[in-house]
Subunit: 558 residues, 2 copies
């Protein structure tokens, strides 16, 4: 049997005008700012006008630790949204925007796959509505104003060795990781060592995704710490007087983007913070807006549940006052096999024992999510080579953990393949059994917050950190930042800090290498391992194969 | 009397939906890609479908050498377009897009002024439809792919000291002019010295503005020389295999943007190459599209006529097969006074003698334009302090040069203030007296082309250039680039290379400091003086005053 590629399926989409998609959520067309015929931003005034409404029910889609086999978290998010609409519910989807840089490297797009996709796929993987470009501009304006301040006399007494605000580009460009700027003499300023991160790693991105409105956005931008003086006192973005102009640059970007699934159901695609050095979920504005407009909102969090769901629940939900009614954990038979020790090349052969051996990774995630007081259901994202016995093994395992697993075939069949999942998720959400609470309180000391996650979620025995790091955390507590949540930056491939350790390990420790204060976003980043904030391109970048075909269609984006 | 500011007037605009503006040019709404309710891109397919139509008449608006008094070239372009519509002609305007960087520095916007403005003014001075962001991305993708090629083994044998492709940002950031990249060890590549230019200075910008369609765009992008080998042989963008992906990134940006004037007349705002190291006019696609849709198309060129009109006529018209029917030279009484030796502080007082003393600058430009075979009319852009005697002095001077000058009051009155100018321009254009030809043929040797402009336009006695430069030009002629036009980069404030020399000087020489080959754009840049390709911010950047007011409106952009 021949399968169509994602892009072939996306091209066959029978898209409806975006005004009709908006109408399904009762958004008047004058409050939809169109970008072409199939994308629109939802106007700020309209969003303000619906704040008094009741919220719909929030459903989080998360996953096991990612493996090279692929899990299909976004695909399942889209499939579940379509499934809920299929069974007659008014449902909307909330996902992140794709980063331009990785599209030209080796990463696929972020719009789902098969018959569970969001369209227009090409635009979503390119400039979309320009939000990331706006973030790049706002971030780099602040950088230029810092160096400009130093150039013109440095009234704020910035220690040039302690400028912590780098620059960003939405590009995979390893040459920019570590640079010296302001060479070339007096007219170009004072040389100093700095560098560039990819735009999604910008604190401005995290801020945009957590801000509730433009006022909150500007306040948070003003709170960014950009540098320190020789006496270690911080200098804020507000001191540089960049917060107003940055807000103006981000005015449109703050409005959530509306697009549609292949089945013409509404999807909000907005924001895309890194899932390691930031919290990795779509914007609070998009999620809260969707909750006012739909009865069910399906959203996802980056990476596996240990990183993504943990941060969604401990950071985003805490900050935005959200409480999920149900969590779906996506697993695949193939990923279970890899967790059970099978190599990628051997995934095609049936291996029930390996599936069983890999299931504890899934079990650990289920248990973790339950510790937040939220009901869990497992979605088995079906792959064509999966055998009935293998699928049954996963179902049996999940049942033995007191949960249930449902086979989903949305990749091949669209919403027809998620009817059962949608029905069950709606039942769970409607039963209102969720009793959500973050797993640590605001007023817990910062180091204890790290320990709570390391022990409660990663199942480590201990957190290892130098005195310097512990002192830094204490200093921040004294400076009034002790009530912030912690944002863990760790490999997504394992519960441990070793990406090769699969399954459900115990007995390990979590070394904290560095802590960073994101005062504007409002969290402490805890770095446990190598974190790359500017990716590189591979030997043969996918950009080499991207181009227009003879019909003017885009080839090579996927 | 109190005058409203530009932004106050712009906010009061009674904008029509962009579909209605398109309808005035018979563009079906399905071929207008909306960006919000007041901006749209004109679809590529529609543009292809109208290629067989007759062209309307092209009118170029240019100016005397700019002075701190301000001339109002864009304002007059808008005013004339509105005036033509007022007298019953079907007219469209074509102007350049504004660069984001300077808006946060000290420069005003580029949307006209008073009652002769294009709206939405704020968006045009911010992200607009994202064209410049697309150019930034395409430019920097190529840069990343060059360093990536070297990193993975340098199969093309690029001499790392001879990479000529820099990076760009749409930002005034002097710290990025001169940098060292790829520091930090093996994983980050090979350290080398490079830097950033502002996006408008990118060759990609010049290419986008000269390309006739996507195919031509990709061919030109492929032709860009990015580096040289040790044996000095060039390496092209095509060798790096970046041209396809760059074209994909620029696909939407190639479609011209349609907006409206305060009087609801159609205006195309598309492209914005630097007027010194590039040719400084809006895109060929916008101009040729407008000519198919309107009977009269009013456009402008950057800086004074010696630079802007010269390049418009010798580069853009030559390359795109365009021929203007009339040229309007904008002058002001105040600028004449400054050319006559009056300081800016003293411009308020009547000084007919100074006006007369300054007029030869205007006369020189009139004479120059006529040398291209095109009829000229002078627009005196009225300022409130101008006296009747001063205005009459300009009119008398222009009459003595065999041309005519018409007083225009569009800034204060909109199209009512340009009725006379519009009537006269339409008469001239309809009389079809224009006999346009570039002032040098394609096959003239490159150095002679430079001399033709220096002697014919700048009225210099000689061009001074080192043997090295002459040899370089010879080498390019041998390599097949001898038929390219030359793109002069010189101060815009004087006919000489000394910005302080006003009026109509003679007896000077033009020193050529450097020549650069823009093989993709298709011209040789001839640098005569200091050319800044990355501006800096002033001591108090205007960004500090930009912000949202309590009504959510943008303040501080002007």
């Amino acid at each position: 049997m021949e399968y169509k590629t994602d892009i072939e399926i996306a091209r066959e989409a029978q898209k409806q005008p975006i005004q009709e998609i908006g109408a399904r959520l009762s958004i008047p067309s004058e409050h939809l700012l169109p970008y072409g015929h199939d994308k629109a931003k939802v106007g700020e005034e309209f969003i303000k006008s619906i704040q008094g409404r009741q919220n719909g029910k929030l459903i989080l889609v998360t996953a096991i630790n990612p493996t090279p086999a692929g899990e299909g978290k976004t695909t399942t998010t889209v499939g579940l949204g379509d499934g809920l609409n299929r069974i007659g519910k008014k449902a909307a989807i909330c996902i992140r925007e794709a980063s331009l840089g990785p599209c030209f490297g080796m990463k696929g797009g972020a719009a789902g796959g098969g018959y569970a996709q969001v369209v227009p796929m090409e635009e979503m993987n390119l400039h979309f509505t320009g939000d990331f470009h706006a973030i790049t501009s706002a971030h780099n304006l602040l950088a230029a104003m810092i160096d400009n301040h130093i150039y013109w006399g440095n009234e704020l007494e910035i220690d040039q060795r302690r400028v912590v605000w780098r620059r960003v580009l939405d590009m995979n460009d390893r040459a920019l990781r570590d640079t010296v700027t302001s060479l070339g003499g007096v007219a170009n300023g004072f040389p100093r060592q700095t560098g560039f991160d990819i735009t999604v790693a910008s604190e401005v991105m995290a801020i945009l995704c957590l801000a509730t409105d433009l006022e909150d956005l500007q306040r948070r931008l003003g709170d960014i710490i950009v540098a320190y003086r020789r006496d270690r006192t911080p200098i804020y973005c507000r001191d540089i007087k960049a917060d107003g102009a940055m807000t103006v640059l981000l005015k449109d970007a703050m409005q959530p983007n509306l697009v549609q699934t292949l089945e013409n159901n509404p999807a909000f695609v907005h924001g895309g913070p890194f899932a390691n050095i930031a919290h990795g979920c779509n914007s609070v504005v998009a999620t809260t807006t969707a909750l006012k407009l739909a009865d069910y909102v399906v959203t996802e969090a980056g990476f596996g549940a240990d990183l993504g769901a943990e941060k969604f629940l401990n950071i985003k939900c805490r900050k935005a006052g959200l409480a999920p009614s149900a969590v779906v954990v996506v697993a695949t038979v193939r990923a279970m096999k890899m967790n059970g020790g099978v190599a990628k090349a051997d995934l095609g052969a049936e291996n029930v024992d390996a599936v069983k051996a890999g299931c504890p990774n899934l079990g650990r995630h289920i248990e973790n999510i339950k510790s937040f007081g939220v009901p869990v259901v497992v979605a088995i994202n079906h792959f064509v080579t999966d055998t009935d016995a293998e699928v049954q093994a996963v179902k049996d395992y999940v049942a033995s953990q007191g949960s249930e697993a449902i086979l989903c075939q949305h990749w091949a069949k669209g919403s027809e393949g998620t009817e059962e999942l949608a029905t069950r998720v709606a039942e769970i959400a409607d039963a209102e059994t969720s009793d959500f609470a973050p797993i640590y309180p605001d007023d817990m000391p910062l180091f204890e917050k790290i320990e709570t996650i390391a022990k409660g979620i990663y199942r480590a025995d201990a957190v290892v950190a130098d005195q310097k790091i512990r002192t830094q955390l204490k200093d921040w507590e004294e400076a009034g930042y002790g009530n912030l949540p912690v944002c863990m930056a760790k490999t997504q491939y394992s519960f441990t800090t070793d990406p090769t350790v699969r399954g459900a390990p115990t007995g390990h420790s979590i070394p904290v290498r560095e802590v960073r204060l994101s005062a504007g976003a409002g969290f402490i980043v805890v770095i446990c391992g190598e974190i790359m904030t500017m990716p590189g391109l591979p030997r043969v970048p996918s950009a080499e194969a991207i181009g227009l075909n003879d019909d003017g269609q885009i080839e090579g984006l996927f």
